[in-house]
């Protein structure tokens, strides 16, 4: 701790930070540009100047950059000093000499850090009367617009993109006032995290292109605290809506999960919500006709067709706990399927059980950054849990931070830390079947089959305990295992990451065994174990339970109710056909026109995350709640979209002839908590609907929300009452509380007086860049569940394939493997062409060339796709493009035939 003296007042601060950080954490405003809590200090913009005095008696002082000056004990500074203020105003004036002053047409306007800082410094008069330098802009692909004239050269973009996110295709060019930030030439930004540029850039150089087409100001959108549905990471988002459309996804700070950054799937992949072809009203499919019906009619039909019947309920790992639970209540525990395949469910259940094992600690995404040695078994993280990949990238920097600390250099001094570190990194080992996008930080990489990786994993586990390694791995693999074991043991905090994406349970078992073998320090597990699962709520469903699809389909039912699940993405079409042939009624609740929806006799228009509330559990076991962003019926009364749980409960009570007793979200949450003990913690995820701040609900709309009385005018000149939100403490209104509050899980958007940009998270945090004042959103369920005794696991037997055997191995792509992402129009140009990946050696063996088509026969399914020859894939393995090809079983060996017709190379 340290005492600093600011403008005559004394403050207690941490002592290890810089003055800018310390003052912002104290709630004192100092303008800044180049500094960012995640990027550290470089002192280039000179905006954060304050007056520093040698001691209490020094009256002269000198200007220093607060971001470059440590807040050590007995530091005397003045923010208010006249010279400091004048200088800060001048800096903005200089920056504005080249800025185009195009705020009216700039998409950053209204949430622009440059605007905020300009106002904060008091610069309000333009004296510069000469020419401005101008730049050409670049086409950076479908996500991000580029408007270089607005650049204030804070260097944040390159520092984020290259230094933080590991991108290689954004740079700074030229010198002096001509410095230019962009790619070497036009082209799509390659980083999977490019979208964060939009928030990192303090002005309108990089803006969200997907928002441009339907643009509106930040203050004209309605928001809700929400959770990204793209993968199992559980990143917090703040979606913005206007006129019944999602317009933009912004990051919502959660100091234990995503902090300031999302991946591009999360930021740009929610366009499916706006699809025109969504079922927005209930439908009956009669013969080949689709009838749109009223809610009552649909419910009557559904009740009639389910009453007294033996009904199978198929839930979904992409639906909320509430909706899955309502289905289970409707059909009964024994008739409830998780909607996962046998294989997937076993994997997810294994992950859940490992997380409940004595001696296993699962870190959150922020903690991942603190580990100083990482071993990844089988996950291509950038594709399967992108935000975690970004965290792992930070963990590799710990070695450099340690070296810097040895030389008394503070961790926030970005350039000196990098200079001292040079190429030194904390070790990261990656064992996958494909080359990953984390290669550049890997100390060692192995390309191998899932089975080989698992066996190598067990060899590492054995090496840690100095036990004999299983005999069936090669000598260089043993050397490798010994080295990894040595590094993991040597590390202060080793982390093992694995997951379900390769459909190989032995990978997670090996990972657990390694973590267990690393033992404990002071009664705490030394190692962390983090397991990636497939979908946003896979972990939630594993905790709730239910039977897998295959088991469900083994019996006969009169009717099937499917909730938010496209069965054709789970099982081969033939299998579904056979299963569904056995039932008379198929009722599907979904928000997308999926192949399963097309098969339904009754379609109930379910809410997506944007139109409904719900709770999901991330891979970390963090239960988090997303809240309805808007009410679509407000703009079009014909729309009747309801959360699946509402539909299901109405059907349920209808069948029972009882009145509805879950009238609000809290009712269903309580029911879940009381009936599923493992999920009891979800009661604490967010305050109930009765929560108020100063007697007010929380406003979803910013104070300056405009046009409310006019926006419905084309429909009717009578302005209806704003929709009432009975389910939560949030209001569909600008009336209500806006700002930091006791509940951090109920912050719809970041705004504070004078802080309109995402930088305003400052005002919501305990310390800048730290955690939210009232604690980060979410409840870690595994921390509350009883632990199970540790088991020990054994390595799987090697697969003894011969030279003519081929197998499929899943290959994931960030934008292709997400069911909803694929349905988002802007993603089309970013999704790779469906193809089987084949290694160079195997291509030679099979005598196929790049682009040539092959037919792969797996089980009963044949798939014909072109071949993509890649550098790295294990011998005898063909990469199956997850999400882009018909579903097949990946367990057995396959037959490949090469199409005769030669295709141009």
């Amino acid at each position: 701790m340290a005492t600093i003296h600011v403008d005559g007042k004394d403050y207690e601060v941490d002592g290890s930070e810089n003055l800018l950080q310390a003052c912002l954490s104290l709630g004192l405003d100092i303008p800044y540009f180049c500094w960012h809590p995640s990027l550290g200090s470089v002192g280039s913009c000179r905006q954060c100047a304050v007056k520093q005095y040698a001691n209490a008696d020094d009256k002269r002082g000198r200007l220093v950059m607060s971001c470059m000056t440590p807040a050590v004990n007995d530091t005397y500074i003045s923010i208010e000093d006249d010279e400091a203020r004048a200088f800060r105003e001048t800096i903005v004036e200089y920056l504005m000499t080249n800025h185009p002053h195009d705020c009216p047409v700039c998409e950053e306007g209204g949430h622009c850090h440059l605007q905020d800082m300009t106002v904060m410094t008091g610069h309000d008069r333009r004296r510069y009367r000469f020419t401005k330098r101008t730049h050409q802009n670049q086409d950076l692909g479908p996500f991000i617009a580029h408007e270089m004239n607005r650049c204030i050269a804070c260097y944040r973009c390159v520092r984020y993109y290259k230094d933080y996110a590991g991108g290689t295709d954004l740079g700074v060019y030229g010198n002096a006032a001509r410095v230019y930030f962009g790619r070497e030439k036009d082209g799509v930004l390659e980083s999977e995290f490019s979208g964060n540029l939009v928030e990192v850039c303090p002005t309108g150089v990089f803006t969200d292109k997907t928002h441009s087409e339907r643009y509106n100001r930040k203050w004209d959108m309605q928001y809700a605290p929400s959770i990204c549905q793209g993968c199992s990471s559980g990143c917090n988002i703040s979606p913005g809506e206007r006129y019944g459309e999602l317009r933009r996804i912004e990051n919502r700070f959660n100091g234990s999960v995503n902090q300031y950054f999302l991946c591009d799937k999360g930021r740009f992949g929610a366009g499916y919500v706006n699809r025109k072809d969504r079922p927005r009203q209930p439908q009956l499919h009669i013969e080949n006709r689709t009838l749109t019906v009223s809610v009552d009619e649909a419910l009557d039909q559904a009740i009639a067709s389910l009453k007294g019947q033996n009904v199978l309920g198929i839930g979904s790992p992409r639906a909320s706990l509430e909706s899955n639970f309502a289905l289970r209540e409707l059909v009964g525990n024994d008739n409830f399927s998780t909607g996962m395949t046998q294989q997937e469910q076993q994997l997810v259940e294994l992950a859940a059980s490992l997380m409940q094992t004595e001696g296993i600690y699962n870190p959150n995404l922020r903690e991942v950054e603190d580990y100083d040695a990482v071993l990844i078994l089988g996950e291509d993280l950038t594709q399967t849990a992108p935000r975690m990949a970004l965290s792992v990238r930070q963990s590799a920097k710990n070695k450099g931070l340690e070296m810097a600390a040895e030389r008394k250099t503070q961790g926030w001094l970005a350039e000196p830390v990098a200079r001292i570190a040079q190429d030194a990194k904390s070790p990261v080992y990656i064992l996958t079947p494909v080359a990953t996008r984390l290669s550049d930080i890997a100390e060692g990489e192995v390309v191998a089959s899932p089975n080989d990786i698992a066996r190598l994993g067990f060899a590492i586990a054995a090496a840690i305990k100095a036990e004999a390694m299983n005999g069936d791995i090669s000598d260089d693999a043993k050397v490798f295992a010994l080295e990894v074991a040595r590094q993991l043991k040597h590390a202060k905090k080793p982390l093992i990451i694995s997951g379900t994406s390769l459909l190989e349970p032995a990978l997670m078992e090996a990972a657990a065994q390694i973590a267990l073998n690393l033992g404990s320090v002071d009664g705490k597990s030394k190692a962390g174990l983090s397991l990636v699962v497939p979908e946003v709520n896979s972990m939630g469903l594993a905790l709730m339970g239910g039977m897998p699809l295959e088991k469900a389909f083994a019996q006969s039912y009169d009717a099937v109710v499917v909730v938010e699940n496209d069965l054709y993405r789970r099982l081969p079409a033939q299998q579904i056909k056979t299963a569904l042939a056995k039932t008379q009624q198929i009722i599907v609740l979904d928000h997308q026109e999926t192949p399963t929806v097309k098969k339904a006799s009754i379609v109930l228009s379910a809410a997506s995350f944007a139109e409904g509330d719900g709770t999901v559990v991330s891979q970390e076991g963090r239960a988090q709640r997303y809240f309805q962003v808007f009410d679509p019926a407000y703009y079009n009364p014909e729309i009747s979209i309801k959360e699946s749980w509402r539909w299901l409960h109405a059907i349920h009570t209808g069948i029972q002839g009882k009145p509805v007793n879950w009238t609000v979200l809290d009712d269903v949450i309580e029911a879940v908590a009381s009936k599923v003990p493992a999920l009891e913690g979800i009661l604490d995820v967010a305050p109930d609907a009765g929560y108020r701040v100063h007697g007010l609900k929380i406003a979803r709309e910013p104070r300056r929300y405009s046009g409310r009385t006019a926006m419905r005018a084309p429909i009717s000149v009578h302005e209806p009452k704003q929709p009432v939100d009975v389910d939560s403490a949030l209001a569909f209104s600008m009336e209500g509380y806006v700002g930091p509050q006791e509940s951090s899980s109920l912050i719809p958007f970041a705004w504070a007086p004078g802080w309109n940009s995402p930088q305003s998270w400052n005002k919501f945090q305990d310390e800048v860049g730290g955690h939210l004042k009232a604690g980060d959103p979410g409840v870690r369920l595994f921390d509350r569940l009883p632990k199970r005794p540790a088991r020990s696991f054994v390595a799987p037997a090697p697969l003894l394939d011969n030279d003519s055997t081929y197998r499929l191995v899943p290959v994931h792509h960030i934008f292709a493997s997400g069911e909803m992402t694929v349905r988002t129009p802007v993603m089309q140009s970013r999704i790779p062409e469906a193809a089987f990946s084949v290694s160079r050696d195997d291509a030679a063996r099979l005598n196929v060339q790049q682009g040539q088509r092959v037919t792969v026969k797996a089980g009963d399914t044949s798939i014909n796709l072109p071949v993509n020859v890649v550098d790295y894939l294990p011998y005898g393995y063909v990469g199956y493009p997850v999400g882009l090809a018909p579903v097949v079983s990946l367990t057995d060996s396959i037959a490949i035939s090469v199409d005769a017709a030669a295709v141009g190379v």
């Binding site: 280039s44 001048t90 009367r129 000469f130 020419t131 050269a153 001094l413 000196p416």
Partner: protein
């Protein structure tokens, strides 16, 4: 085409002897000394041999005692800089010669390298040995093509002699020197930007601390010194600190001799090695032959473009750090530029600021965006489109682009000539501003200069 030594009216070597002109006395015997044997025949490498017979710590003491000041412009004592180098941990340690010489008006390092490449190499070997350096680099600007060639040839000869390479003169010490040629940018002369440039990066200055002595090139302990600084070392080793200090003792407390020079409209522009503390008048009038026919001196820059203008009233000051500082300028590189009375100060200052604006690295706001403004304001005044407020604004710039407010010393350097031009010649600026400009009602901001 090479730079030839100015022989009129007083040649650089003058009546120099090894005792009085340690840097240039050999040029009296040979027009240049590219050959190692010739150099050795004139006490060449004797200082190095002496040093290598001592311990590094002993050599360090000698350099410290000589209080030799850096010749790159800032005048920081080399001995003190060296003593701040991180202790030897067995890893690489770098010694860098700053041969970027791009300060406008400065041409001394070119002469030293083109004429006396061995003297620099000898100095670097002495420094390298003292600092236990493992590798030396000469960062030379790309335009010094001949100097780079002579240095490389000299290095070859020296390697053959065993003065570079492994186990030099049986000391067990290994050292190599590589000539790295730059690709143009004044900022590369700033020592941390220079290190970035050497590493193949953009030449942005680096955060200090940590200083290069602790974390310099490739994160390792590094010392950067100017060409002329190294050139001083052989004689100091040979003749001792006392002799060195006495070279200038009767004139100045800055020790040793200095390469002084004059450019501009004097009769004989050139370079001379003189004891520290020689007056500007002596240099300009006696050595450079005074102003050309019919011209009168109006102002002078004592040591490069980034120093403050001085006037005729300062001509009798000794040219050493303290005296020039007291007069409100900086000694800089000691290469005087004279401005005659016919020269418009506004144009001249505009030219200077154009240089600084163009050469800004673009890292920090005041420099990157403030300097172009100064150019535009000066240009407007120069071309009769200025306003009184432009002068006020230029004055504000000199305050806002000052030391501590910018990231490195580039922009403050740019402000030195500007502030002094405004101080001494404000009337010239005001005279160019159209009177009516003040009364014109401004109707558009879009009006361009």
């Amino acid at each position: 085409m090479t730079t030839h030594v100015n022989t009129e009216p007083r040649p650089i070597h003058g009546n120099g002897t090894a005792e009085t002109h340690p840097l240039t006395w050999r040029l009296k015997h040979h027009e240049f000394l590219h050959d190692v044997d010739t150099y050795e025949s004139l006490e060449g490498y004797a200082g190095m041999k002496k040093a290598l017979s001592m311990t590094p710590a002993e050599v360090q003491e000698v350099v410290k005692a000589a209080t030799v000041k850096g010749r790159g412009g800032a005048g920081f004592p080399a001995g003190i800089k060296w003593s701040l180098m991180a202790p030897n941990d067995g890893g690489p340690r770098y010694l860098i010669c700053n041969a970027d010489e791009m300060e406008p008006g400065t041409f001394k390092d070119r002469l030293l390298m083109e004429k006396l490449p061995h003297q620099l190499i000898e100095g670097m070997i002495i420094a390298g040995y003292t600092l236990e350096a493992t590798q030396g680099y000469i960062f030379i600007r790309g335009e010094y093509i001949e100097a780079a060639r002579y240095l490389n040839e000299a290095l070859e000869q020296v390697r053959a002699k065993g003065y570079l390479g492994k186990n030099i003169l049986d000391t067990g010490w290994n050292f190599e020197i590589h000539v790295h040629t730059g690709a143009g940018r004044y900022i590369c002369g700033e020592e941390t930007a220079l290190i970035n440039s050497l590493e193949g990066r953009r030449a942005n200055p680096r955060t200090k601390p940590p200083f290069p002595q602790v974390a310099g090139a490739w994160g390792r302990p590094t010392i950067v010194n100017n060409v002329e600084t190294f050139n001083n070392l052989p004689a100091i080793l040979l003749r001792g600190p006392e002799w060195y200090i006495n070279l200038s003792a009767h004139k100045s407390k800055d020790p040793g001799t200095k390469i002084y020079g004059v450019s501009g409209k004097v009769r004989f522009p050139g370079l001379w090695e003189l004891p520290f503390g020689t007056t500007a008048r002596e240099v300009i009038e006696e050595y450079a032959g005074g102003m050309r026919e019919g011209l009168k001196l109006k102002a002078w820059l004592p040591g490069g473009a980034s120093t403050d203008f001085l006037t005729t009233e300062h001509l009798d000051l000794p040219m050493d750090a303290d005296s020039i500082m007291k007069a409100g300028s900086r000694l800089g590189t000691c290469l005087i530029m004279v401005v005659d009375e016919t020269q418009c100060m506004v144009s001249l200052t505009r030219n200077l600021e154009e240089f600084f604006a163009r050469e800004s690295c673009g890292w920090c706001t005041p420099c990157r965006d403030g300097l172009p403004w100064s150019v535009k304001a000066l240009s407007a005044i120069e071309h009769g489109r200025g306003k009184m407020e432009d002068i006020t604004h230029l004055e504000q710039l000199t305050k806002n682009l000052w030391i501590g407010k910018t990231f490195c010393a580039h922009a403050p350097g740019a402000m030195e000539p500007l502030q002094s031009a405004l101080k001494y010649f404000r009337s010239e600026f005001e005279a160019l501003i159209p009177k009516e400009a003040e009364s014109v009602v401004q109707i558009s901001n879009a009006q361009q200069a």
